[in-house]
């Protein structure tokens, strides 16, 4: 009897195993069906002519009611409200396309989205990261290719903005918004101590000295948030030294290395700022660092303009913005500009046409103005004379307009494998902050790490 019970148990476990594999087989069948549907859709696309497109545009406002879903990594309540407000503006022109905003948290967004794209359960519209972070999504073949034929307003974006979301000449993401990285400053505090916006690096140090002598935290820093160290602090401080895109292109090609002068000088500049940071700069995270500024304890903070509005709601002083100044007066001013994200369409979406209508609308000056009107505080990618009541945003747009913009030096190509330039830069900066590395050693750490896998450095 015991034997028969044992055999029965084994039989049941085998049935469970076989059932699992059978379900996996069904998934394979579903994939085959999806491929057939995709081939048919491609044939239909080829038959579309310009006249048909124009007719479709005219009729765009009168589509069959459809619901599309979109996801981003901004799950904060104010972003949910902003996106829903923007969607309401979209619906004034396109009432039949309902857009459901369904974000995931920042920490898990990439993993969840990639998994969902793989499993075929992703939203119709997904938010994409630029350069290496997003490349794995583009090159995995999950996204619908965007063309000017299908999305005429895509032509409004310069190549510098679509490039980070392209692969092999194919655009996968429609740029959404941009962020600048620079220095927020407390205007009231500057007025109190008779300080001016610095125009050179030495003047910047003098300003920090003055703040320190008056008992304030000159500049707050959150060394506990690794991503801030490499992306924000090092890049914002150093972009003038390696001359923006020029230096970036050279360090990617291998013509320059991180051990070369401009990049070592960036580490030295960072060291020069260390006496002016908050006492707990090693352990404080980025939010704690911003608290110092927001509550009037710090006079400046190097940060990104995604904080406009969102993190400055509690400040009871006037906030200003300037870029980290160049070494010498009259030198070209560079500013780190991040293409914050782009909108891509899930290739397996059943509502590609509606998604294209939404993306096409978002790529207009009208939509960017609507963004400002509803309260988005990011920098519009399309240049125009916008009407905004947000003085800080207007100041940021002016400052960025007067600079030569550049992406982060280490996120393109240098992040394709582990250890990425970002990871190495973070380690280097943490060791610099703790006094374990000199500027040269920090630079060498990045070079040595990249040389292990990055061909131009081998």
């Amino acid at each position: 009897m015991k034997k028969s019970l044992l055999w029965l148990t084994i039989t049941i476990m085998c049935v469970a195993l076989i059932s699992t594999f059978a379900l996996a087989g069904c998934k394979t069948e579903a994939e085959e069906i999806a491929e057939e549907v995709e081939e048919e859709a491609e044939e239909v696309e080829e038959e579309t002519t310009e006249e048909v497109e124009e007719e479709a545009e005219e009729e765009a406002v009168e589509m069959e009611p459809v619901t599309i879903t979109m996801t981003t990594w901004h799950a904060e309540e104010n972003f949910v409200n902003l996106w829903n407000a923007l969607i309401s503006v979209f619906n004034e022109t396109y009432p039949d396309i309902t857009v459901e905003y369904d974000p995931a948290s920042f920490e898990v967004y990439d993993d969840v989205t990639f998994s969902n794209l793989e499993l075929g359960t992703a939203h119709d519209i997904v938010y994409l990261r630029p350069f290496d972070l997003g490349r794995q999504v583009y090159e995995a073949g999950f996204l619908h290719e965007l063309t000017v034929d299908e999305m005429p307003n895509l032509a409004n974006f310069p190549e510098a903005n679509t490039g980070p979301f392209s692969s092999n000449g194919v655009i996968y993401g429609s740029p959404d918004r941009g962020y600048s990285q620079g220095v927020y400053y407390n205007k009231d505090m500057f007025n109190e101590y008779d300080l001016e916006v610095p125009e050179t690096w030495d003047e910047f140090i003098d300003v920090l000295d003055a703040l320190k002598n008056n008992g304030k935290i000159p500049s707050s820093l959150g060394g506990g948030t690794g991503a801030y160290l490499d992306q924000i602090y090092y890049n914002t401080v150093g972009v003038n030294l390696w001359k923006g895109e020029e230096g970036k292109a050279k360090v990617i090609s291998g013509e320059m290395r991180f051990t070369d002068d401009p990049f070592v000088k960036a580490f030295e500049a960072f060291e020069e700022l260390m006496p002016y940071f908050n006492e707990d700069f090693v352990g404080a995270d980025a939010f704690a660092a911003f608290d110092y500024f927001e509550f009037g304890e710090a006079g400046t903070i190097i940060d990104g303009t995604w904080n406009n509005g969102r993190r400055l709601e509690n400040s009871d002083f006037e906030v200003g913005y300037f870029t980290v100044p160049p070494q010498n007066a009259g030198d070209e001013i560079y500013n780190v500009f991040i293409n914050g994200g782009a909108l891509g369409i899930n290739k397996n979406s059943e509502n590609i046409e509606a998604a294209l209508v939404f993306l096409n609308w978002l790529a207009t000056i009208e939509a960017y103005q609507a963004r400002m009107d509803v309260g988005f505080a990011d920098i519009p990618i399309l240049a125009a004379d916008y009407d905004t009541e947000n003085d800080l945003l207007a100041e940021v747009v002016t400052v960025v307009g007067e600079s030569t913009i550049s992406a982060c030096v280490h996120r393109d190509r240098l992040g394709a494998q582990d250890p990425s330039a970002a990871t190495l830069m973070r380690e280097a900066l943490l060791n610099l902050l703790s006094g374990d590395f000199t500027a040269e050693e920090a630079a060498k750490h990045i070079d040595d790490g990249l040389a292990k896998w990055y061909e131009p450095y081998q």
Binding site: E107, G224, V282, D418, R426
Partner: protein, 308 residues
């Protein structure tokens, strides 16, 4: 009579079998099969969640020989052992002490016994964030308390210093799970026969000698369970580190343990430390092996200790 007994035993066995059958199916479907699948994925490589290129034992060779895999794995393994030791020692000493206290008879003991379990009911992420605030140099009470006691020289950036971050997280985890340890020890102490304790008292044992010669030896089997559960929990742990330091397990991977390494290597982008699901499954398979070996060693050590 024998026949009747055999029939009864058979009926009981059938009864037990059929009632446990749903659990067996669920266990097989949600535990055994994923473990086997994960082990299978460790022999493959490729992008996404279903790697498709068979590479044999290459992933295992890479993880013990190539940079950065070897460095990250050895670092995570070492950190995990430290993490386990700190938590287990603190929980055993602290848990046993509190258990001895709450098994005495005094007014309000039931209330105290119940509230020792409260931290365990709090979500791990909430505990992590709470301790982040407690240890914050800007607003945290720990540093203010040290200053008050004129011990300001001991103040550190607790979660920001590679030398203190792991221990600080271990303290948070100790606090979180202390309730279970106290419960186990208290139950063990309650199960000691009153006659034994009376006899010891009559012989003149009291206080420390009672604890040392009666309670502690009888708690060895409970300690074995505590060590084993702690080993499993801490070597599969992930959430406390994630709550405090994020998936980067900073600063400088000083808080990286096998759980965070597995998550990051499996699901993160390459620029954020991702290695692909194949290598991630390799980490998971090795973790499974380490936990199995560790449990066997704990049982073996405690058996020898109990014999002596």
């Amino acid at each position: 009579m024998n026949i009747i007994n055999n029939i009864k035993k058979r009926k009981i066995r059938y009864f037990l079998f059929w009632f446990s059958l749903p659990a067996i199916i669920l266990y097989a479907g949600f535990m055994v099969i994923p473990i086997i699948s994960s082990f299978g994925y460790s022999f493959f490589t490729g992008a996404g969640l279903t790697p498709d290129k068979f590479v044999g034992f290459e992933n295992y060779i890479k993880i013990f020989t190539e940079f950065p895999y070897k460095d990250r794995f050895i670092n995570a393994l070492g950190n995990n052992f430290l993490y386990y030791l700190v938590i287990t020692v603190l929980q055993t000493i602290g848990g046993l002490t509190v258990a001895i206290l709450v098994t005495r008879k005094f007014k309000g003991v039931k209330f105290f016994r119940r509230i020792t379990y409260l931290p365990t009911t709090i979500a791990i992420l909430v505990t992590g964030y709470l301790f982040k605030m407690l240890f914050s140099q800007r607003i945290g009470v720990i540093d203010k308390f040290l200053e008050m006691l004129h011990l300001g020289s001991f103040i550190r950036p607790w979660f920001g210093d590679p030398d203190t971050a792991l221990y600080s997280i271990a303290i948070a985890a100790t606090w979180q799970w202390m309730g279970i340890v106290i419960l186990l020890f208290a139950t063990g102490i309650d199960s000691i026969s009153e006659d034994v304790l009376e006899a010891a008292s009559i012989d003149g044992a009291s206080g420390w000698s009672l604890t040392r010669h009666i309670i502690l030896p009888l708690m060895v089997p409970v300690m074995r369970i505590v060590f084993m559960l702690s080993f499993i929990g801490n070597f599969t742990g992930f959430d406390m580190v994630f709550a405090v330091e994020g998936i980067d397990a900073g600063p400088n991977f000083s808080t990286d343990i096998l759980g965070t390494l597995f998550y990051r290597s499996s699901f993160s982008a390459p620029s954020l430390g991702g290695w692909g699901i194949g290598m991630g499954s390799t980490v998971a398979s090795l973790s499974f092996l380490i936990i199995g070996i560790g449990l066997v060693m704990i049982i073996f050590i405690f058996k020898r200790f109990e014999k002596e």
